[in-house]
Symmetry: C2
Subunit: 222 residues, 2 copies
């Protein structure tokens, strides 16, 4: 993102070290938003941050470590966005909760992209400490969202709200990859009428599934 | 799988070519079942099939092409297994349909593993022709399962059955990766009580979500 001034590049003081880590994470974030998580290399991130690749590895373990930190950060932003979207209401419905979950996740394209990468790639290329820190942060966000969602509406209890959120996050991760196909496949979708059924429009498809899930949970709860 | 006799290795006749392709696909299948799709390389597959790596590339485009062929094959096996499980009944429920969908998919660990890899990796490393052939095969299996599922029970119509199947397949793909964590993470799950909530038991979790989805679809349909 922003190249650091030379005195920060050396990073002798703790506050400079934090600035450097922030520059690395910011660079990884902006690159992933531009071209997708899959396409970003550690070399790209180092170049954008204006830091040597070997120096980057003094602040983070791997490329995957950077993206796992960003996944944790995105989960906590999602929790904050849901809190803000639901406000102080306590008379909501499970259906509204499902809709707001989807609206707030689609506002975070980086999270949507990272959700499938985390278990498939990111968690597999970091230390146990890094994966533990990530898992605890994601679970804390899920707990927060569960509390928020349970307070918002009187029908679903904590366990059901939690199931709704975690299933929505799994579907969001899978649907994001399918609704953002590689160029060659996107061209096929546009040209080949037999593939009309395979095209996925992310938000409507996710919202449809989350609302159906909420309706099913409400039936069981009732 | 099986090393081919020398006269087949040369593969001058069409039936020998088919035998070679089958040996390559069989080797990829057995290796993936042993150590997971992620870990299998083209070199592994060639070695197990007893064919030179460069010769393998005369029969398939890439490692991903082989696994995309296997994904198509697995989809059609899933469709056949569902047809067999549901039999000739027409008085089933949406709940039974959801349960049978999950039982038949868990019987195919290779499909469960491939479901997340297909959009994330496989479709991105093959030609347009290969991805088209795969998509058409998967859509044909989905059509077949939709017909089977709609006939089995009188509540959900074709569109709803199709939604149930495709959502179940997306969840199966995501949950499989999470419920089969890398060794370091599995150890963390076992040792760290704070992660108790993060452990996922594949079949019960998938079946719970699919049944909830079916209940929600039935409410809408009714």
């Amino acid at each position: 993102m922003t190249k650091l001034p030379p005195h920060v590049q050396r990073a002798r003081r703790p506050e400079h070290k934090e600035l450097r880590l922030a520059a690395i994470v910011d660079s990884a974030r902006s690159l992933a938003l531009e071209k997708g998580v899959r396409a970003v290399t550690l070399t790209d991130i180092a170049a954008r941050a204006g830091i040597n690749k070997s120096a980057v590895l003094r602040y983070v373990e791997t490329r995957e470590d950077i993206y796992l930190r960003l996944t944790a950060e995105c989960w906590s932003r999602w929790a904050a966005a849901l809190r803000e979207a639901l406000g102080k209401r306590t008379d909501g419905t499970a259906d509204e909760l499902a809709t707001q979950l989807c609206r707030t996740v689609v506002d975070q394209p980086l999270l949507c992209d990272l959700l499938a990468h985390a278990p498939l790639h990111l968690e597999r290329h970091v230390s146990a400490d890094a994966v533990l820190a990530y898992k605890l942060a994601a679970l804390a966000a899920l707990d927060d969202m569960t509390t928020t969602g349970a307070r918002f509406q009187p029908v679903l209890e904590d366990g059901e709200v939690r199931e709704l959120i975690s299933t929505t996050s799994l579907l969001a991760g899978a649907l994001w990859q399918i609704s953002n196909p590689p160029e060659a496949l996107a061209r096929l979708y546009a040209e080949e009428p037999r593939l009309a059924h395979a095209v996925v429009d992310f938000l409507p498809r996710l919202t449809g599934a989350a609302r159906t899930m909420a309706a099913g949970l409400a039936v069981r709860a009732g």
